[in-house]
């Protein structure tokens, strides 16, 4: 199980850009990738994402880490589309499965789109510190606060979620390694036994995650954090913590 990249230290235009701009850019880029259908449009989108990776200076390995973790899933998506998408003019047929050029093209389209979205998401977390991300979400949601929506809670929730993903991935890996030491390599087991081995890990994963949530909320409240009060922002403009 490989994960979403955490923050990668580097000095690049993407690292220096504001989190709000990066978030808005991510949403726009994802929309463009989803709308790309022809090979030319997908190639242009892939070129754009490659340029962003180069610009970010996080390294190709770090940018591709999350996508590599989903390689088997993406291969399966490609195979299912290639075999089941169409039955017109098949290259070969086996029972209900027909390998067609149209199906293959559809599979490649979906896999390329998914890969590009994954890399874009990885770039956001690799070039933005969690605190900056919270501030970015808060800034983007600020207009909604005027109509009474709890933007502070939403920004906190997004920030904590993004911050916890690498932590929980690391803890899950540690629990899986501990299980491998006790029971052998999970990857060599059959599908059902592999699934059962993951299920056994659910209780310790949840207990560990909620324990971390408990510790974090206690620490935040001990330092005077209240959802209703203004607080220090990443740029230091607001520094009014409740005494």
């Amino acid at each position: 199980m490989r994960g979403v990249a955490g923050y990668v230290w580097a000095d690049s235009p993407l690292h220096r850009a504001s989190a709000a701009a990066k978030l808005a850019g991510l949403v726009a880029c994802v929309a463009l990738v989803v709308l790309a259908t022809t090979p030319l449009e997908l190639a242009v989108a892939a070129g754009g994402v490659a340029a962003l990776v180069a610009l970010s200076r996080v390294g190709w390995r770090a940018a591709a880490r999350a996508a590599w973790g989903l390689r088997w899933f993406l291969l399966m998506v490609l195979a299912l589309n290639a075999l089941l998408f169409s039955d017109v003019d098949p290259i070969f047929s086996l029972g209900p499965a027909h390998l067609t050029c149209e199906g293959l093209a559809q599979g490649v389209r979906i896999v390329v789109r998914t890969l590009l979205v994954i890399v874009l998401g990885t770039l956001l977390t690799a070039t933005t510190r969690p605190q900056e991300l919270v501030e970015g979400v808060r800034r983007l949601l600020r207009p909604l606060g005027r109509i009474g929506l709890p933007t502070e809670a939403a920004a906190l929730a997004v920030g904590v979620t993004v911050q916890f993903v690498p932590t929980l991935l690391r803890e899950s890996r540690q629990l899986m390694r501990a299980q491998e030491i006790r029971c052998g390599n999970v990857a060599t087991l059959g599908i059902m036994r592999r699934a059962v081995s993951y299920i056994r890990l659910l209780v310790p994963i949840f207990v560990s995650a909620v324990r971390r949530a408990d510790e974090l909320s206690v620490a935040m409240e001990a330092r005077g954090y209240r959802l209703s009060s203004p607080r220090a922002s990443a740029d230091g403009k607001e520094r009014k913590l409740r005494p």
Binding site: M1, V117, L120, F206, A213
Partner: protein
Amino acid sequence: MSQVKRIVIAAVCAALCIVLPMAFHSIPNAGATWLPMHIPVMISGLVAGPVAGAVTGVLGPVLSSLLTGMPAAPMVAPMTCELLTYGLVAGLLAKFVRTGNVTVDLYVSLVGAMLAGRVVNGVLRALIFSPGAYSLEAWVAASFVTSLVGIVLQLAVVVPIVVSLERAGLVPPRYPEKDA
């Protein structure tokens, strides 16, 4: 439980909505069969209330799609509505169902949420997301046949996890007077 802790638990469960499917994706078609994203949403609703459950239900699929590409973009809206319903209804039922027995309370809330989420998902797909192309058979197949393993998994693990969290003292007990 304070408001900050509710939000933090909702966020941590949303992070688990991203992490758990990554583990299960090494198993073919695991997303539709094992429903790993549903479990943190139900647990968030049951332990932290309806708002936290709804927040987890929204953040989980949206952030997972943005950060990992899964679920694929066209699936995000229907899945978000479904998961939001799971979290919201699980939290509401956990709040109002009081039989005096923790396990019964939690199972009633869990099953109620599972049914409500599937009904909302079917109605939204039939009326908004796939109008004219979604049949009752497709809904039954997707909601109860393909995901049968996931349903059994949820029934088997969600309540024991919530009870474990109560016993570990990480969430307030439902019936503190009994524990005293």
